[in-house]
């Protein structure tokens, strides 16, 4: 009786029913996916746990007793320059994003809408030069900073860092923005011209508002860059007062005198959380922007 009913039940899915082998396949996939998820979660989970575990000294002790406490965060805020590092990083990130957006929004427009001499050659040249690691110029950066700061005393190492990040971001972001603007119909430009816009106004009043999502992505990327980079701050910035988060937090695990691994976990957590939230919320834009720009070229 029961069997009968089963046979008569309607098959509601749009897809073809699976054979046995197919079912095994799906099960395998679930297992793979789940284990990879576990592999991702586990270390991150450990980090969270150790950030809150009060049963630790200056070294991390994992998989042992757990006692909830805020003490590592307290240490972070009171004994280290964490807040200064946050401030520095945000300053560098914001300035970098602004500089890149200002420059790139013009070049992206020009490269997309105008056919001028040297357009292709310059793009190719810049792209190639860009593959040279930024780090290559480090000796020169020192000396250039010395020279410039002698002429303009206010020119700090952090500003040098901003310039380096900006210089490194121009080419690829120009490429991405150009690709995006290419996909905006030129009839809109024409309509704008007929309605009384100059080249500048066409950009400001028509193209820029339409390209805003992509500009946002570029801005966001440029903003995140300084949070992620360790190398250049480590080399260029000399005093803990001027460190960015990456350089600063590293002192907590690397410097024998200051070592405090749980505080590092706490600091890492605090830094990671806002960025992760941002990524999760904006993942679609970030990914599509990234893919679009590069694919379209």
């Amino acid at each position: 009786m029961k069997k009968q009913k089963h046979k008569n039940a309607l098959y509601l899915s749009d897809r073809q029913p699976l054979a046995f082998a197919g079912k095994i396949g799906v099960l395998m996939m679930y297992i793979i996916l789940a284990s990879w998820a576990a592999a991702i979660i586990w270390p991150l989970y450990q980090m969270i746990v150790s950030a809150f575990n009060g049963r630790q000294g200056s070294y991390l002790i994992l998989n042992r007793e757990f006692e909830f406490s805020w003490e590592h965060f307290e240490y972070l805020f009171e004994e280290t320059l964490y807040l200064t590092w946050v401030k520095n990083t945000i300053f560098i990130a914001v300035t970098t994003a602004i500089v890149i957006l200002l420059i790139v929004s013009f070049t992206g427009y020009a490269y997309s809408r105008y056919r001028f001499k040297g357009r292709r050659a310059s793009l190719m040249a810049i792209l190639l030069i860009q593959t040279i690691p930024t780090f290559a110029g480090i000796a020169a950066y020192y000396a250039m900073h010395t020279i410039i700061s002698n002429i303009i005393p206010a020119f700090s190492r952090q500003m040098m860092l901003v310039l380096i990040y900006a210089g490194g971001g121009i080419a690829s972001n120009t490429f991405i923005l150009k690709g995006y603007i290419d996909s905006i119909s030129t009839e809109l430009d024409d309509a704008g011209r007929m309605d009384g816009c100059s080249s500048m106004k066409v950009y400001r009043l028509i193209i820029m508002p339409i390209a805003r999502p992509m500009l946002a992505v570029i801005g966001l990327w440029s903003f995140i860059g300084p949070f992620m980079d360790y190398l250049l701050p480590r080399v260029l910035l000399t005093s803990p007062q001027t460190y960015t988060l990456a350089a600063g937090l590293f002192t907590l695990i690397n410097d024998i005198r200051n070592t405090n691994q749980p505080a590092f976990a706490a600091g890492g957590l605090l830094t990671a959380v806002p960025i992760v939230i941002m990524f999760i919320l904006l993942q679609n834009q970030l990914v599509s922007g990234l893919a679009k720009g590069s694919v379209k070229g």
Binding site: E187, D190, M194, D195, G196
Partner: protein
């Protein structure tokens, strides 16, 4: 406004040859002028030159006698409707329509009045505050028109504005556009490659091919008196039947007498200079008559019959395998594979000089 083109030529910077050359055209005040032609013949180029979006390489472009070659697009007192509408996606319908006026720093009150007026005319008041992405294609088309109307221009330029609409809506908008033109009386220059649009909307058609104007005139002129072979073949569906023959003893002879046409007396004189030379003759499909009393006849076998309802298209073959198309009333009976004789009147025969393509019986 009267638009005059005098010996206009256009050469794109990255091209070897002139895309357009020697264009002479006068578009009178209040004309609805349709520029018609196959793809790539330079219609858009011409329109964009009139609009001021492309520079004019040579010649004079006059608006009401004033030379405007170098006047910026925005200062030409014209408005353009684009093929893809080109509505600013980030502005509401209202802002789209108000944009040009606010760029001119027009007064808010006047802007509002004008926008409202245009919106009412086009029946788009309801979604004035929606974004273009939230309205349908037909509505967008109206907004694009509205944006042009708001400026109260002296000339409307339209580049295939209906090509993105479906067949039904296109028919509807066609009528609407004509009505609008009647109401506003603004000179309109309309580009299309669709001859039906041209024939139904225009009071003046300019047919272009290969960067040159082939013929200008009223729609019926195009049908009745095509100026050359290209025009004859381009206008009308099905395509006009053409016979490439020569004049022998005053008569037109096609392929050793498969078709022999005896011209009427006045025509004989015109054809005199062509004695022994190649001449092409064209006859429209619907001008053949069965059981005719006409002097000139052809014999042909029907290959295929296509029933279209009110008419039938007969795909026929002459004795030398030349294919022709004949259109007959739907109620007449024909059999496939049978031979029939069709006659035609003298007045429906179009004679062309085969070498130059020019029409002989003016």
């Amino acid at each position: 406004m009267k638009v005059e083109l005098k010996n206009i030529g256009k050469k794109y910077e990255n091209r070897e040859n002139f895309t357009l050359r020697g264009i002479d055209l006068t578009i009178e005040e209040k004309d609805f002028c349709v520029i018609l032609g196959p793809s790539g013949c330079g219609k858009t180029t011409l329109l964009r030159m009139i609009a001021g979006l492309n520079s004019v390489t040579e010649g004079d472009l006059l608006f009401d006698g004033r030379r405007v070659n170098k006047v910026a697009a925005k200062d030409r007192d014209i408005a353009m409707v684009f093929q893809s509408y080109a509505l600013y996606p980030h502005m509401t319908v209202y802002d789209n329509m108000a944009f040009s006026l606010s760029m001119r720093k027009e007064r808010k009150k006047i802007i509002n009045e004008r926008v409202m007026e245009a919106a009412e005319l086009l029946q788009i008041t309801e979604y004035l505050h929606s974004k273009p992405s939230d309205i349908s294609g037909g509505q967008r088309q109206r907004v694009a028109l509205g944006r042009a109307i708001v400026r109260n221009p002296s000339v409307f330029l339209m580049d295939e504005p209906l090509s993105n609409l479906d067949a039904k809506l296109r028919e509807h908008m066609r009528v609407e556009l004509v009505r609008l033109h009647k109401k506003l009386g603004t000179t309109t220059i309309y580009v299309t490659h669709d001859q039906v649009e041209a024939m139904t909307m225009a009071n003046r058609i300019v047919l272009m091919n290969d960067g040159k104007i082939q013929q200008t005139g009223a729609p019926d002129e195009f049908y009745e008196k095509p100026g050359n072979i290209f025009v004859a073949k381009f206008i009308g569906s099905p395509t006009m039947n053409m016979f490439d023959g020569c004049i022998t003893d005053g008569n037109f002879v096609f392929d050793d007498g498969v078709v022999r046409i005896v011209p009427s007396e006045p025509l004989k004189k015109l054809l005199d200079p062509y004695e022994g030379k190649n001449v092409s003759v064209g006859i429209r499909a619907e001008r053949f008559e069965k059981d005719s009393i006409h002097r000139n006849n052809i014999k042909c076998t029907i290959d295929v019959i296509e029933m279209l309802g009110k008419e039938k298209l007969l795909y026929c073959r002459l004795s030398n395998d030349k294919e022709i198309v004949i259109s007959a009333p739907g109620y007449n009976r024909y059999e496939e594979g049978m031979e029939y004789t069709f006659g035609f009147d003298d007045s429906v025969v179009h004679y062309f000089n085969t070498e130059t393509g020019e029409r002989i019986n003016k």
